[in-house]
Symmetry: C2
Subunit: 643 residues, 2 copies
Amino acid sequence: MSLSDQNNSSQSVIVDTSRSPYTRLHPAPIKAVVLEDTFWRHRRQLNREIMLPAQYGLCERTGRIANFRRAAGQLEGDFQGQYFNDSDVYKLLEAAAWALVGEDSVELKALVDRLIDVIAAAQEPDGYLNTFFTFERASQRWTNFDLHEMYCAGHLIQAAVAHYRSTGETRLLHVATRFADHICARFGPEEQGKQFGNDGHPEIEMALVELYRTTGQRKYLAQAQYLVANRGYGRVSDRPFGRFPTSYHQDHLPFHSLTRLEGHAVRAVYLNCGATDIAAERDEPELRIALDTMWDSMTSRQMYIHGGLGPRHQNEGFGPSDYELPNARAHAETCASVANAMWNWRLLLLTGQARYADVMELELYNSILSGVSLDGKGYFYQNPLSDDGHHRRQEWFGTACCPGNVSRLLSELPGYFYSTTDTGVWIHLYASNSAALTLPDNSTIELTQRTNYPWSGEISVETKTAGLYDLYLRLPGWCKAGWTVTVNQEAVGYELTDGNYLRIRREWRAHDVVQLNLPMPVERMESHPFVVENHKRVALMRGPVLYCVEGVDHPDTDVRLFEFSESDTFEPEYVSDMLNGVVVLRGTAQVRATEADWEERLYRSQESAAHANSARRAAVTAIPYYAWANREPGPMLVWLRTV
Amino acid sequence: MSLSDQNNSSQSVIVDTSRSPYTRLHPAPIKAVVLEDTFWRHRRQLNREIMLPAQYGLCERTGRIANFRRAAGQLEGDFQGQYFNDSDVYKLLEAAAWALVGEDSVELKALVDRLIDVIAAAQEPDGYLNTFFTFERASQRWTNFDLHEMYCAGHLIQAAVAHYRSTGETRLLHVATRFADHICARFGPEEQGKQFGNDGHPEIEMALVELYRTTGQRKYLAQAQYLVANRGYGRVSDRPFGRFPTSYHQDHLPFHSLTRLEGHAVRAVYLNCGATDIAAERDEPELRIALDTMWDSMTSRQMYIHGGLGPRHQNEGFGPSDYELPNARAHAETCASVANAMWNWRLLLLTGQARYADVMELELYNSILSGVSLDGKGYFYQNPLSDDGHHRRQEWFGTACCPGNVSRLLSELPGYFYSTTDTGVWIHLYASNSAALTLPDNSTIELTQRTNYPWSGEISVETKTAGLYDLYLRLPGWCKAGWTVTVNQEAVGYELTDGNYLRIRREWRAHDVVQLNLPMPVERMESHPFVVENHKRVALMRGPVLYCVEGVDHPDTDVRLFEFSESDTFEPEYVSDMLNGVVVLRGTAQVRATEADWEERLYRSQESAAHANSARRAAVTAIPYYAWANREPGPMLVWLRTV
């Protein structure tokens, strides 16, 4: 295999746009950043020590790994589980591969190598690799593009790229390129004598672009383009997939005609990741317009306040209506939030616009983080915004896409903090860390961040490297006013870019300290009036963190009875021994109705209501949304009633 | 076949409890009542002249009838459609059979006879009849109780009972009893040497009780008991049905342990119909307690204000949470509302409690009637309580259960107006009609109703028969105060029963006129605070009719922007040339926000909101909910925002 001559810095890069012609930012590798904070470092340790080993154990117990052994002829018996189960193994492997960066874990390395052994053994002589379509089902290969063969291939390729970039080893990459070659040889434009092929669950598109970036082989980019361009003609599947229309797998319109997120949410956003990757490599104005239009639609009409996507359980996605954002029945799949972070990261690299980092950050602190319990042992597939105590995290799922997705994001996390351009360093995310960032000219800028983010908006960045360069600090979208920036405690000249980064260009000395102060008032957020569920309700946010109220903190009153008036305020308070250390919001609310008032009625005439008699005040504690359902079950609300 | 000696009056009785030992009321036959009103008579004509012929045509076009011809060996080709499609033909036939009562329609009679021909021809020599499990699938008979064989048998039996009671002819009844005998011989207690059998979609239970009532053969009642008692042990299906738990088909708990409606809504309520029928025949206190408990749960925690049941699309039913009543994503299947009317009718016969008639009436005027368009040409499967214009009625569905259900209810309707006891007549529903009601002693009481119900609460009942007897007039639950009752314009002594009927016992003369006046103020209904979507919203009701606002009546303002204060009132106005003649409610509302105020944002901090500046008043017209989506598409809301 001929690998492109990746320079040292592009190893352990998550999305390697370092040589992509149509992108503004250069990514920093994971290994360039060492997190030294109290928020993420602990979670990344849980990921390595609890989550990944547990996922491995569950992949074994549920036959997902045995399926590979069976395909390799090492094991008798039937295929176990669902037709897309290979992907869970690949995603676990990708997460474990990225987790190896900067970690000297013998156990993790052994886990990775064991997985690669079984995967490599299961590959067919012609490069094909899918353990479901083996033996008795071999004749059904590629007969139904809804059965996730491309999807699983995509996850294999992503795992292989991660493994190569993390370790420099090529064994899994070799497996993945053989399968990719098999796909490229078989599927493509019919005028080239190839077979029509497509992907019922987008995923392989972004994987192929990365494979191109890793190997330098342009055919992989061309294949990704083919797969994106080849949609919208109702040809992805001959048969309807259950009750769903062709928009379920984004096959209802050509990509450049899409104007909103449609269908299955994870599919839609993975597809957009791939299209954005293509737009980094090629001059594709139509793709860019479609991506921009969909992003505007998403953020102004389709996204939950916690970043969740896909309101409907039925199709794990969107219906035709904008503003459809039910709270209790939110699907808001953890994977869709991970996908959205991935998509916004790609858009950020393309543009240097902070609004994309805002969405990433929203996902990270809210609907991705809610996807895993504080002890790393349970996962949410759905992330509702209200509940009566039934929704609890589970160790695993029959469709187990979410655990691996949370893990790979945590493994990759340091790689999302910084980017570079020719003239300096961009800071996207805030948490204490040390970084050594290599610019395109191979010079390196070292710096450290110190902050108690997200509990505090006070951030100090200390330069370790002297010289004339730019520092770009993201001004988060949630910060509307009152922010200040100093260098060595003195006012400093800066430019606020149209992408909402504070650009400070100067002759830096070692140990210069940039102090960015972002005020973090408690914000009472309200919803567009077309979001029918949120009428006369407010959600509390502080910085990037969304809050909720949970029954366990309010033994005397059902949280659904609280009513807040405009004069009710909340005060933040850091509580170290609660939920692993969180800032809670303390306030009071009015309680008028009681359940007894309603006399077991569901509806009543307003005239018959005799309320306001029993009004009393009650203390209220709001906790970060991501931390709910970690204690005893009870009702939870994000959107609080106002009087 | 030995038929029980039905007396003349029990012919055309829908649910024949006339000799059931544990029931309070005797049903009146359909033919005893001639509707002479302007509300229902027209709809029943549409049913006979438009709906039933169209459904027949669609059953032909979609291969549903061809499936029977194929099973009879009269036609080559494959089975067409879904495995439960036979039931649509049976339900059409039942609706057409009941529609023959009092109608001398040659076309309808011919339609009925043609259907009976193909059905009878398709029956196997051993009595089995299901066109899906024929030829290549004959070996799969009774291997999966989720595949609706019992369900289809139940609809066949109901159609046969209807046809016999309507026409006196026994041909279809003979087919149905042969199939019922086949089922009774094969499935039953294992200690009797029979095979375990059950019903993934309850329906046959109530059908078998009626077959017992029709034929006098006690084994059918025993079989219904077996099928109800035999649930709750997770044995209905060996394999999980899709992603659904055993509660999907009410197989998670024994019937007597059920405390709320669970799983698929239509299944749950059909099962309750069957259990209520059993409770009419046998002393079953445990069944009664379970039924009462479920009814309380339904009306106090699980039912939409329009009578709809089953909030979730995913399982067409209930989740584990009470108060889960999303408006836009309400599933609220038309069939579930029909089923609920059927269940409440059975409970009413059992108890003589008006609250059951209240639920029936709520279903009739709201979520059943919304199931069909004003022209009789389109149907709703789901009945949401808010929409943005996407939800429209369709001519037909792949799963076409709802059209036939609306039709059979309209065909049966006159049979729901009255009951009798030994001492007199019970009036449940109000609409102009003439009735001749036979009491158990074979005496007949004739009377007429004159009213403009549901637009007016003024009802006059004129006796045609002299004598000492009781008249029971239902006092609707929606009428809280101010009602009056007179006889010949004079005050009259009456008793208000604990079941909320006004009982007037006297020596009646011919042409006595009872005048019942039920005030119909416009009620602003509010929801229990746990119904999260309806916070600070009101729904308008007048009498039994629920109202909504629809975009087409408000070209200048999106109806979702209206805000109502407590001082905003509504005045009813009858408009004869709108929506086939309706009382609309006229009022005004405040409009503050405009879409432009939101600057394409989905969420904003309250502090950043500069509202109240642009407040203006707008005229509002609310229409009956059942009549929405009959004009051009646009947003619709039942639950209106209040300030």
